[in-house]
Symmetry: C2
Subunit: 555 residues, 2 copies
C-alpha cells in the first residue's frame, strides 16, 4: 500500500468530534470541509500552557528522504492516547516545493499519518497562499513607491533587500532583474524570490502572539534605505494594515486528525535550514491549552530545528519542553558511516558503528539545554537485530534511554514503548531549558556559541559582505536580536559533504538578512539557498488525477 492508499483506507471522523475532544464547541469552529477547521485564537489559556507537558521531537543529521520526525510525533501522540494520556500533536504545514520536487509529503507516513493528507499536502486552508500574497503586496507597494511621484519616500532601489516569494521550487526566480521594459515598467533593479517557507512573513506568523502583534510586526519589516541612507520600514509604506487583512484567517491554527482519530494542529511551515523551522507559537500554545501532553517537531537535525525551537521560539513564547525525543534510523547511521544511499538497506554493522558519532554529537549538543533526552529508533523492515542491538547498547553507555518505534507499521501501538519512556523522562524534568546564548551577547558571540556548543565547530568566519552588513545592522540597534542560522541540513558544518561528526571546522557566513518584523537576524552560512530548484526528474511528472478524482503519484 502507498502512503496515500493507507491514508484513504481510513474514514475520517467529522472534525467537530475531534474539536469536542479538545473542549471546543462546534460554533467556534470555522469549517474547511468536514475534516479541517480553523480554531479561534481565544482558545489559548496561559495558565494551562504553564501546566502542560511539552515534548519536542528532533532528529540526527538526516538523509535526503528524512528520518521520520513527523511519523514519530504522530505515532507518539497516538501511543500516549493508547496509554490514556490526553495528547495532541502540533505540526508544520507542508510546502509545495518538496511535494513537486522530491517525492515525500510532510503529513507523516504509514499508519502514523495526519489526514486528509492530500489536502494537507496541497493548498490545505490557504495559509501559505495568504503569506505569499502579504509578502508580495509589500513588494508591489515598494515597486510602486519607487515609481510614483505622488507619494515618493525616496527609496534607493539599489538598497531594497525585501524579496518576493513563491511556494515553488523555481530556481529561475532566485536571481532576477525586475522592472524592465522602459518608463512604465518601473526602475530596473536586481532582486529575487525566496520560497514562501523562508519569507519573513512566515516567521512573523509563527512568532506573533495575536493579529495585533502580527500587524505591528509586519509594519516593522525593514525593506531598504532612502537615497539619504535612512532605513525604510513597511509601515512607512502603510503596508501593514492590508498585509494583516490578508493574514486574518491564516493566523488561526488548523485542526485535523491522526489516522487513529486523535487531534492534530497544523500551522505555519518555515523550513529549518533557511528559517526557524517550527510551527507557530499560537498553535503550540493552543495545543498546550487543551491537552495534558503536547508533542511538536522542529525540522531537520537538532543542530537546526531544535536549536532554533529552543533559542528563538521557546524563549519568545516563554515555554520549555519537558523531554526531547531524538529520532534516529539505522539506515541514516549507516549513511553517516560511509554507506552509499542506495546501499543503506543492507546490513552493515561496521558502517553503523562508524555512523554512531553523529548521533553522539546530537546527544551532546542537546544535553547542553539541560532537558531529558529519549532516543527513538524509527524502525524499518531492513533493520537487523544485530544493528538494533548495537545502537541500543551504545545509547545505554551514553546514559540515554532508547526506544524502538514502529509507528509507520503499527501506528500508536507501535510507539507505546517510546511513549512510556517519554512520560518517565518528562516526570524527571525539574527545570526550564538553558539557552545556548544570552540576548545581550554580541551577534558574533551568539553565532560562536551556537557553532561551538551545538555544531561542535571551532569558529565563525564572516565574508567581507557579511562584515559590512553586520556593522550596519548593529549600528541600526539590532544587536540584541537572536540569530536564526541558515545552514545546510546535511551536516553539522556548513559543508554538506561533511557527514558523521565533523571536527575542526569553521562556519562561513556569506551574508546576513535582517528580519526586524520577526525579530531576528539571519546569518547565511556556506552556499545554502533560500529558493531551491527542482531535481533532474521532479516528482510532479508522476503525479496525476483521473476523471473520478483518484490521485496517483502523490506519495
Amino acid at each position: 500500500m502507498t502512503e496515500l492508499q493507507i491514508a484513504e483506507s481510513v474514514t475520517p471522523k467529522h472534525i467537530k468530534e475531534i474539536a469536542y475532544k479538545l473542549g471546543i464547541p462546534e460554533e467556534k469552529l470555522e469549517y474547511y470541509g468536514n475534516t479541517k477547521a480553523k480554531l479561534p485564537l481565544e482558545g489559548i489559556d496561559e495558565k494551562k500552557v504553564k501546566q502542560n507537558t511539552l515534548i519536542l521531537v528532533t532528529a540526527m543529521t538526516p538523509t535526503p528522504p528524512g528520518e521520520g520526525k513527523t511519523t514519530t510525533s504522530i505515532g507518539l501522540v497516538d501511543a500516549l492516547n493508547v496509554l490514556n494520556k490526553k495528547a495532541v500533536v502540533v505540526l508544520r504545514e507542508p510546502s509545495l516545493g518538496p511535494v513537486f520536487g522530491i517525492k515525500g509529503g510532510a503529513a507523516g507516513g504509514g499508519w502514523s499519518q495526519v489526514i486528509p493528507m492530500v489536502d494537507i499536502n496541497l493548498h490545505f486552508t490557504g495559509d501559505f497562499h495568504a503569506i505569499e500574497k502579504a509578502n508580495n503586496l509589500l513588494s508591489a507597494l515598494i515597486e510602486n513607491n519607487i515609481q510614483s511621484k505622488t507619494r515618493s519616500l525616496g527609496i534607493d532601489p539599489r538598497t531594497v533587500v525585501w524579496k518576493r516569494c513563491m511556494d515553488m521550487n523555481d530556481r529561475g526566480l532566485r536571481n532576477i532583474v525586475a522592472a524592465l521594459g522602459g518608463k512604465a515598467g518601473g526602475v530596473p533593479r536586481e532582486t529575487g524570490f525566496n520560497i514562501t517557507a523562508a519569507s519573513e512573513i512566515m516567521a512573523i506568523l509563527c512568532l506573533a502572539s495575536d493579529l495585533e502583534d502580527l500587524k505591528e510586526r509586519c509594519g516593522n519589516i525593514y525593506i531598504g534605505d532612502t537615497w539619504k541612507g535612512t532605513p525604510v520600514y513597511a509601515k512607512d509604506l502603510n503596508a501593514h494594515g492590508a498585509m494583516a487583512v490578508l493574514l486574518k484567517d491564516a493566523i488561526k491554527p488548523n485542526l485535523v486528525q491522526t489516522l487513529e482519530g486523535n487531534p492534530a494542529i497544523i500551522h505555519g511551515g518555515p523550513f529549518a535550514n533557511i528559517a526557524q523551522g517550527t510551527n507557530s507559537i499560537v498553535a503550540t500554545k493552543m495545543g498546550m491549552s487543551m491537552r495534558d501532553y503536547t508533542v511538536t517537531e522542529a525540522g531537520f537535525g537538532s543542530d537546526l530545528g531544535a536549536e532554533k525551537f529552543l533559542n528563538i521560539k521557546c524563549r519568545a513564547a516563554g515555554i520549555s519542553p519537558k523531554t526531547i525525543v531524538l529520532v534516529a534510523t539505522i539506515r541514516a547511521l549507516k549513511y553517516h558511516g560511509g554507506k552509499s544511499l542506495k546501499d543503506i538497506t543492507q546490513e552493515d554493522v561496521i558502517a553503523l558503528k562508524k555512523g554512531l558519532p553523529n548521533l553522539e554529537r546530537h546527544i551532546e549538543s542537546l544535553k547542553s539545554f539541560g532537558i531529558p533526552i529519549v532516543v527513538s529508533i524509527n524502525a524499518f523492515k531492513s533493520d537487523t537485530d544485530a544493528e538494533m542491538q548495537l545502537v541500543k547498547e551504545h545509547c545505554k553507555t551514553l546514559g540515554v534511554p532508547v526506544a524502538l518505534s514502529y509507528g509507520w507499521e503499527q501506528g500508536g501501538k507501535g510507539c507505546v514503548d517510546l511513549a512510556e519512556k517519554v512520560v518517565q523522562a518528562a516526570n524527571t524534568c525539574t527545570q526550564e531549558f538553558k539557552p545556548t546564548y544570552n540576548l545581550e551577547d554580541s551577534i558574533i558571540g551568539k553565532m560562536e556559541k551556537i557553532c561551538r556548543t551545538i555544531y561542535g565547530g571551532d569558529s565563525v568566519v564572516l565574508s567581507d559582505v557579511a562584515k559590512a552588513q553586520l556593522r550596519k545592522y548593529e549600528a541600526m540597534g539590532y544587536s540584541d536580536f537572536p540569530v536564526c542560522m541558515a545552514k545546510t541540513e546535511k551536516s553539522f558544518s556548513d559543508d554538506k559533504k561533511h557527514l558523521g561528526r565533523p571536527v575542526g571546522f569553521d562556519v562561513h557566513i556569506r551574508e546576513f538578512e535582517l528580519a526586524t518584523g520577526a525579530g531576528f537576524i539571519i546569518p547565511i552560512a556556506g552556499n545554502v539557498l533560500r529558493m531551491p530548484g527542482l531535481p533532474g526528474i521532479p516528482a510532479a511528472e508522476k503525479i496525476t488525477i483521473d476523471k473520478d478524482g483518484t490521485i496517483e503519484g502523490l506519495f
Copy 2:
C-alpha cells in the same frame, strides 16, 4: 454606510439553506465556513440547461469605477425572486489586483451585494491561488527542463512564451530577466508575469467541461519550441497531471448568497480587457441546471465582455442568452459627452446628449447578435429628472425598452421594473444568437468582423512582429481558433482617449499570444497590459484591521 457596513448589517443564512433552494442535498456540499460552499460538478443537467432562460448583463463603455453590472445583476436576480421567478446570479471571482489598487470590489454594491463580501474579495475559496500555482508549476518545470541534463527536451530558452503569473498589480514583474546568478541559477532569459486573471489556466478553468477536459487542456498548452523548431507542449513536460491535481477543487463552482438570501454562484475571474471576461462554463451551466432564470455578467463594455461571452463562451458551451441587459449610467454618458470625471455628478443635459452615441453604438453592436436588448439605467442620487427623461426618450426612438434600476439603494425591489421588462423581452426571443464570425474564417477575417461589427472601426493593422507570429501560428494549424481580443476597455477603439463613439479608426495588433489549451488566439491591441500597475496612491494604504478583526478601508 459604507459598502462593507451594509454587507455586515445583514446576518447571512447558513449556506445549506441556500443549497436547499437549489435542490442540492447537504451532504453534497463542501463547506468553506458557514456561508461558502463548493458545488459538485455532477449537478449539471444538460436537459435543464436547454430549458433555462439565460440573461446576459453587459454595459456601455465604462468610466474607471465601473457602471454597476454586478450590482445590476444581483439586483435583477433579487427582483426576479420578488416576482416569484426562480432565479440565480452567476458571477466572476474578484482579483486582488483591483482590490489593492483602485478602491472597489467585485461583489456588487449597496443593497445589491453578494456576501460574505470580505472573503469573496480576498482569498475566497482559494481558486485564484490554485490557478496561480498550476501556472507557476508549469513555469518551474520549463525552467528545470532547460537546466536539466537528465531529461532535456532541448527547449530553446529564447522561444519560451509561457509566463509566470501573480494575482497582484505589480508592474515590476511585467518584464524581467530571470535565471541569473550563474550555472546553478538556470539559463538567463527574458520573460515576465501576467496577472492571474490573464493566465491561460484561468481561461482553461472557465472553458473546461470537467476535470478530465481541464487536464487535457493543460497538457495542450504551447510553451515554446525546441532548438530544432518543434513546438513543445505542457504534456511533453508531463506537467498536466500535477496541474490538474492542483486544480481539483478550483474547478468546482462556489455557492454564496445575495443580501436578500438568493443563491449566487461565483466562479472564475478572467478580466474582459485581457482575457475572455466571463465566469466558468460549469458555473453558468450549474446555475442553468438549478433555476429557471440565470443572470450572468461579462466584464467591461459590450465590445469586450459581451462579444467574448457570445463568440467564445456560448459557442463553446452550446448555450445562448434570451435577453441582453445593457447597463448605462447618466454620469458615464456625461463623461463620454466630454464632462471631466470629477464633474460628472453635476447636471449637464448637453454633455449627456453628446454622450448618447456611445450607448447607441453598444445597442447597434448588440443588435448584430439578434437577441432582445433591455437598457438598464443604474440610478445614482446625482441623476436629475431631466437627464433621466432624455435617456428614456432616446432609447424609445431606438426601439429599445429601458428601465430605471435602484438596486444599490433598494436591492431587489428597486429592480422590479427591470425584471418585468427582462421577462417580457426573454419571452419574445425565438432564436439562438448569431455569432460575429465563423470559426472557418481566417484569423484576420475574424478580427476584421469584430472590428467592423462590434467596434464600428475600419480595419485591423498588424505590426511586423504580429504578422510573423500569425504566419507561424497559422502554419501550426490553429486558424480555426476563435479570437480573444485584448484591448483597452476605455474605448471602442484601441486608444483609450477615444471616448464616445469613435469612427474611422483602425485597430492595431501589437502581438499575438497563442492559447492552445484554452483554444483561442489572443490579438493584443494598442498598448493594453496583461500585468497592471498600482495607482499613485494604492487602496492598500488605507486598508487595515483592528484587534477585534474589524476591517476598515476595504470599500
